[in-house]
């Protein structure tokens, strides 16, 4: 394949990755921003979303579309409820102390991972995409007849991949509307800015924390449900998203939603493009190098507020 079409293909793959990564990192960023909790178990909530999606689709009969729609709604909801419960039973008990919550979420990571291994097993299992039409994409050339479009062999994507990108954009708009325009969003922002003062205005901070922890996990699970028809569900699949989410959140600035989105697109795209042209390992190396540079030269992240 020529360079132009090849690059376009790589960018499309990168965009799909970036979409899923945006949702996952947004969850991590939301939890850190509002609760100041570094959730090491975030990748396991992602994995649970994928495993539950497999479970729901294989239990339900019916067409792939109905099965998948059910998984898309139910899996994030169940994961969110589980995370809310974990917050109420564990994190609340350690008073959201920064060091102890890290240890607590490491514990949570192993519990979720091992319970999944004992019940779901070590296999990677696929979920059928609800629709998967192959769409050939055109490229252009300047030949003897001037500007012309043609369809190079191998340059194509699927309707499902475009749906993943669209679903991520819609979810982002939804989260933004929730934060900027609604009463609960106002309460969340106030809690993020100053939880003690928020309490002075009758905001039940503990319940808000449970809600936020649940929402963060549900966003990760949503990303996983979207990716599972492309990648398959496996009990160890949470490690990469966790690492990449942390990279995104550090580069974007902890707690900054705008920074998270920009950094997720940057990292997701470059990961996709570098993986296609070189190797996935080089992509991870460059991303980690970028994190190191950000930590040295701009520790608050590209969009993070300067520490007071």
């Amino acid at each position: 394949m020529e360079f132009g079409p090849h690059l376009m293909l790589a960018m499309l793959e990168g965009l799909v990755q970036a979409s899923v990564l945006t949702l996952t990192a947004l969850g991590l960023s939301l939890v850190f921003g509002v609760m100041r909790v570094v959730n090491v178990a975030h990748g396991e909530f992602y994995m649970l979303g994928a495993v539950l999606a497999w479970w729901i689709t294989s239990l339900l009969g019916g067409s792939a579309l109905i099965e998948f729609t059910a998984a898309l709604i139910l899996a994030p909801l169940l994961v969110g409820l589980l995370a809310g419960l974990a917050d109420w039973l564990i994190l609340r008990r350690v008073d959201y102390d920064p060091e102890r919550t890290i240890v607590a979420t490491i514990g949570l990571l192993y519990i979720i991972q091992q319970v999944t291994l004992m019940t779901y097993g070590p296999d990677a299992r696929p979920v059928a995409p609800p629709f998967n039409t192959r769409l050939a994409l055109p490229w252009f050339e300047f030949g003897e007849n001037g500007f012309a479009l043609y369809w190079p062999w191998g340059l194509s994507t699927t309707s499902y991949k475009l749906f993943v990108i669209l679903a991520a954009i819609l979810t982002l708009i939804g989260v933004w509307l929730l934060m900027a325009k609604t009463k609960i969003g106002l309460i969340l922002r106030a809690t993020q800015l100053d939880s003690e003062t928020a309490q002075a205005f009758g905001i039940p901070v503990e319940r808000i924390y449970a809600l936020v922890f649940g929402m963060g996990a549900a966003l990760a699970a949503l990303g996983a449900v979207l990716v599972v028809p492309i990648q398959q569900a496996h009990y160890l699949m949470g490690a990469d998203p966790l690492l990449l989410s942390f990279i995104v959140v550090i580069i974007g600035g902890l707690g900054s939603l705008r920074g998270t989105v920009v950094a997720a697109i940057l990292i997701g795209m470059s990961d996709g493009i570098i993986s296609v042209f070189f190797t996935p390992t080089l992509a991870k190396m460059l991303a980690t190098l970028l994190v190191a540079m950000v930590l040295v030269y701009r520790p608050q992240g590209l969009f993070g507020a300067k520490p007071a």
């Binding site: 106030a190 003062t197 002075a200 009758g202």
Partner: protein, 239 residues
């Protein structure tokens, strides 16, 4: 008819390590009155008020609000019962707009009646004269306006008891006059506890004054009585 006590404390104490910040305070706030709490720096005024509203737990003693023992009740539940407090400049959200700040205070009272939120917020802003600044970011306001916003946030909760911690600090003389008029108007249906350094504000507003020194109540009475009290003069003059 005996005055009804909105809030009472009995033997309320708080130690920080070995230091007794507040000792054995018996305080009764009568419904509908303005009570001022005064005392030299470090007398324990803020610690006492923090225990009243549940920001810090009491070491011993009880707090009764509306006839109910609230000593172990978390702050947000006391607020649901009708207690509101503003803590110096810390209780506004610098990054939110004036409107959003007041909306936070009002939303709790309205519960699910979300449609009422906007008119209620604007009405509250009008009471303190900030209605034209509702879209400004709170952190950009002049200092005096931030204090007014803070009071608006207290009023927005329509509390039964409004606790104001040094509300006139940093205000100009003209702003202080407006503040006094505002609090007089508020006190028609709200009990006010005022922690204040500015003695002329205290004398103009308070129905009764409680004087705290080294964590203990050393005097209590009408402004005239306190003015004439030798123990108070000694505490302030260091005699």
């Amino acid at each position: 008819m005996a005055a009804v006590n909105l809030l009472s404390t009995r033997g309320l104490s708080r130690n920080f390590g070995g230091m007794k910040a507040v000792q054995n305070v018996d305080l009764d706030l009568q419904q509908g009155k303005i009570r001022a709490l005064i005392g030299p720096n470090g007398a324990g005024k803020t610690t006492l008020v923090s225990m009243l509203c549940g920001r810090i737990p009491a070491s011993s003693g009880t707090v009764t609000f509306l006839g109910q023992d609230v000593t172990d009740m978390p702050a947000h539940k006391r607020i649901s019962m009708g207690m509101a407090y503003t803590f110096q400049i810390t209780s506004i959200f610098d990054d939110l707009t004036v409107f959003e700040n007041v909306a936070l205070a009002v939303q709790h009272r309205l519960g699910r009646a979300a449609k009422q939120l906007k008119p209620e917020v604007l009405a509250t802003l009008e009471r303190v004269g900030l209605e034209t600044r509702s879209d400004q970011v709170a952190g950009d306001l002049a200092y005096g306006h931030q204090r007014l916003l803070e009071i608006a946030m207290g009023l927005g909760q329509e509390p039964k008891l409004l606790i104001l911690d040094e509300p006139t600090q940093g205000l100009s003389d003209g702003e202080i006059d407006e503040f006094i008029a505002l609090i007089r108007e508020v006190s028609a249906n709200t009990t006010v506890l005022l922690i204040e350094h500015n003695i002329s504000v205290v004398m103009a507003l308070a129905d009764a004054i409680t004087v705290l020194n080294f964590g203990e109540i050393i005097a209590e009475g009408t402004p005239e009585e306190i003015h004439a009290n030798p123990a108070v003069q000694a505490a302030y003059l260091g005699g």
